[in-house]
């Protein structure tokens, strides 16, 4: 399936892409656009204003994904808290990991402005976070 979002990904979008690849659609392909008018026909949009899979109420897009797809994995729930705090910076969940994640992903994006390249690297980052939290949570 073709998924599309805005160019210049940060924590919320890179985490959503990881979630899609690992939990929803292993064959997923992604398009990144500068303007929503450039979004490819028929693509599922996410983290785009007005899309089904976007910010909703207090939730960031990653949290909306968990709700929309009924993903009730406790580790994903924790990652959602970290992503939320890093994305919205409201300290809602007080997750200390969010500050480090924000710094690392911001820096990676400066080094890898191509979103395909960026997300192939951030996937590994979220795999690591998942493995670390699994040990604590399960």
């Amino acid at each position: 399936m073709l998924w599309a979002t805005r160019r210049g990904c940060h924590v919320d979008r890179t985490a959503c892409i990881w979630l899609i690849r690992r939990f929803l659609d292993p064959q997923a392909t992604f398009a990144f656009f500068g303007d929503p008018a450039e979004a490819p026909e028929g693509a599922e949009l996410f983290d785009v204003v007005g899309a089904r899979l976007s910010h909703r109420g207090e939730d960031c897009s990653f949290e909306t994904f968990l709700k929309e797809y009924d993903l009730d994995d406790p580790v994903l729930r924790e990652i959602a808290e970290i992503v939320h705090d890093a994305d919205l910076m409201d300290e809602k969940y007080g997750r200390p990991e969010s500050e480090g994640l924000d710094a690392i992903v911001r820096g990676m994006q400066l080094e890898l402005p191509d979103d395909q390249a960026l997300t192939s690297h951030t996937d590994v980052l979220y795999d690591g976070l998942y493995a670390y939290l699994s040990r604590e949570v399960l």
Binding site: R6, G8, M89, E91, E99, D102, R106
Partner: protein, 176 residues
């Protein structure tokens, strides 16, 4: 890692104009820019170093200005010379001084209060820590006062812990 020229910061410049009334839009946009740590180069012209987050926030602001009946354009920019860029960076650093000084003064008051045995210390400490983290996020070029503020906060934290440690049996608080 590349040389100086290639690695120079890229900047985003938001140029905007909003109708004078209602003033709430102007205030809301100004507040948002202040929270982001943007620097006004002149009236209606603000700069931020570029990254995915500042870009997203400024794109969102641009939309907001347009929705409020104003005009806004977002530019990528590089100052013409290294010296001009250094000046800009220095202006960013100085713009953070006032808030850091405020945090330092409050951290010192809190430390003294803890040493004299006051109450409601953790709440005040928590608030200061949150403010410091927010300040650090918009301190893009590490103001020299950041270190001083971190030090004042550390001293306050230790004083609060000492105070609460003596007031309560250890190990009964904190999240599991």
């Amino acid at each position: 890692m590349l040389g100086d020229m290639e690695k120079r910061t890229r900047w985003l410049i938001l140029i905007y104009q909003l109708p004078r009334e209602p003033s709430r839009h102007r205030v809301a946009v100004w507040r948002k820019l202040r929270d982001l740590g943007a620097l006004y180069l002149q009236d209606g012209v603000t700069a931020l170093p570029e990254d995915a987050v500042t870009r997203e926030q400024l794109e969102w602001l641009q939309l907001r200005v347009r929705e409020a009946g104003g005009e806004a354009t977002l530019w990528e920019a590089k100052p013409g010379t290294v010296a001009e860029e250094a000046e800009l960076v220095e202006a960013f650093r100085s713009s953070r001084e006032k808030t850091y000084r405020d945090i330092i003064a409050r951290a010192e008051r809190l430390r003294r209060k803890a040493q004299m045995g006051g109450g409601a210390l953790s709440e005040r400490l928590g608030k200061l820590e949150r403010e410091f983290r927010a300040e650090r996020r918009r301190d893009y070029f590490r103001s020299p006062l950041r270190l001083e503020a971190a030090g004042a906060l550390k001293a306050a934290r230790e004083a609060v812990r000492d105070r609460e440690g003596s007031a309560r049996v250890l190990g009964t608080e904190g999240k599991v």
